[in-house]
Amino acid sequence: MKKRLPKILLNFVCTLTYIFLLAPIIVILSSSLTKTEYIVFPPEGLTLRWYTELINHPEFMESLMLSVTVALGTALISMVIGTLASLAVVRHEFAAKALIVQLIGSPLLIPSVVFAVALLQFYSWIGMATSPFALIIGHVIISVPFVMRLVVASLVGFNQSIEQAAMNLGASNSRVFFQITLPVIKSGVIGGAIFAFITSFDDLTIALFIISTDVVTLPVRIFTYMQYQYDPIITSVSSVIIIITIVLMIFIERILGVGKMFASSGK
């Protein structure tokens, strides 16, 4: 009886964690099906009305497209910068290295609202107009530290003699990088890109500051919409995002097996 107690406790904690994590998703998904004009849980009646209603709100779809574009741009740029920076940090010694590493990681420590104000100040100082590109730059700055965390982790366990082996067999430096180094740290790089995508897609604070009438990302759209209306269209938009995310995750898992790689950090 005594030996079973830890197991019961473990199951209890696990169940609680799952409920805690899944409850919001379930609440959103189910309340998007309500027949009422307001958001309610549990839903009263079942209808897909709030999904068809989305067609009458093209601004949500536009914002979704913008968010995805900004997130993809962020993911791509952060992936390249983050990977190169990680290689430099792990493999080379240079002046003020510790300082530079801290500087790159600083967005993780600074409250995002402070960072957003600073960015806005900076943009108006250099006379840069608000644009999707301006937003991407902001998102890149906050997501590079995430990319670096993951890529550095996969580089630390990296056995550099396989690069020497490739050179020894006649591979030039660029060949070594693309055929040996990159494939081996791929899990960290892709994981970092996914983190960057999510960081960007999820961001409200910075987008709120960089906002103009033609640069409204989905989180900002939902946020501003909710200030004036509180109808279940919010939940149907959110449900669409959840579904897209789940499909994306399944796709990535099937194609790349990233989940497996995360667990073993690419070794």
Binding site: I162, Q164, N168, V184
Partner: protein, 358 residues
């Protein structure tokens, strides 16, 4: 045969610490040469300079008459096998072995033929589609050997290739490496800190210490005629014993007092100096009784004995000095010698290695 690989006065420093100090060496074609020495002696650094992973600070490296020390590693045409195998984890065994050939733009059919031949040679036919992590350490090292050899390199460089394997496998692998090396006839450098390994596989051994080569010679000469104190102590085991010069003769011979006995040895030291000698434990002979009255053996007490399988190690004592003797159990049954008993020890003057102080 003339020299195939030539190292001329090469030097290397890291952060002002000189790791390789003015090292010169010539290796003949088809020869297997070991770099043997303790860690930090510069043997791996030297190998890495030959492979091109490190630049020489000074000096020249020539292979087959062409100097290569300014070429980047991927243009040196050398096959290297690493201590940790260094297989590409994301490629199958086939792709690993084929990698060097693909870079050389060899035709597909030819690649297939040579890879399969290579795997056959290291007894891994049928493993083409496995991934490195599905193989044992020994198998991975054989793949690595095949990968290095299929490109028909000018030199085969082995960087402690057996250190990560367990004892039994290590012996098997070293025989296999020698077999393959002789079959292919490739000039090979074998870096190791394991003297037994070096003695077993090398045509010649370069014993290295503190960035310099102490002695280059065939294994038996390294063992029996060490040129420096370091080589004496590093290769095999030695007893350190003292002897006092009693009398100096004209023909470079001296009479010395040694464990209370007089011995005539070749030496040019002056009278009354203390000489230090090395003697290997297996060169010490003991018997448990005097054969004749004229027997000149030294009486010593057996302090302790230790059974080591094929042989027994006896710790002998006389006048507070210790001497270790390793005797084969087929020559002397250890049950005949009791601890605390007295035995007769014979030393052949030829087996005494005079300590040179360098």
């Amino acid at each position: 045969m003339s020299s195939y690989l030539k190292l001329e006065n090469i030097r290397k420093s890291f952060n002002k610490t000189e790791v390789v100090k003015d090292l010169s060496l010539e290796i003949k074609e088809g020869e297997i040469m070991s770099f043997l020495g303790p860690s930090g002696c510069g043997k791996s650094t030297t190998l890495n300079m030959i492979a091109g992973f490190l630049e020489v600070d000074r000096g020249k490296i020539e292979v087959a008459g062409e100097s290569v020390h300014l070429l980047p590693p991927h243009k040196r045409e050398m096959g290297m096998v690493f201590q940790n195998y260094a297989l590409f984890p994301h490629m199958t065994v086939f792709d690993n072995v084929a990698y060097g050939l693909k870079i050389r733009k060899v035709k597909k059919q030819e690649i297939r033929k040579r890879v399969l031949e290579g795997l056959e040679m290291v007894r891994l036919a049928g493993y083409e589609n496995r991934y490195p992590k599905e193989l044992s350490g020994g198998q991975q090292q054989r793949v690595s050997l095949a990968r290095a050899l299929v490109i028909k390199p000018k030199l085969l460089l082995l960087d402690e290739p057996l250190s990560n394997l367990d004892a039994k496998l290590r012996q098997e692998m070293r025989e296999e490496i020698v077999d393959i090396q002789k079959k292919v006839g490739i000039t090979t450098i074998f870096v190791t800190h394991d003297q037994e390994e070096a003695l077993a596989i090398s045509d010649r051994i370069a014993v290295m210490y503190d960035g310099r080569i102490e002695q280059v010679d065939i294994p038996s000469a390294i063992y029996n005629n060490p040129k420096t104190d370091f080589v004496s102590e590093f290769i095999g085991e030695v007893n350190q014993v003292k002897g006092k010069v009693l009398e100096v003769y004209k023909d470079n011979k001296s009479k010395i007092l040694f464990f209370g006995k007089e011995l005539i040895i070749p030496s040019d030291s002056s009278q009354d100096t203390m000489l230090n000698f090395f003697i290997r434990p297996e060169k010490v002979q003991i018997v448990n009784f005097r054969n004749t009255e004229e027997d000149t053996g030294i009486e010593m007490k057996v302090d302790k004995k230790m059974f080591l399988g094929a042989r027994t190690r006896y710790f002998l004592k006389v006048n507070g000095e210790q001497l270790i003797a390793d005797i084969s159990n087929t020559v002397l049954n250890p049950s005949q010698i009791q601890e605390e008993s007295t035995v007769i020890v014979h030393l052949n003057p030829d087996d005494l290695l005079l300590r040179k102080g360098r």
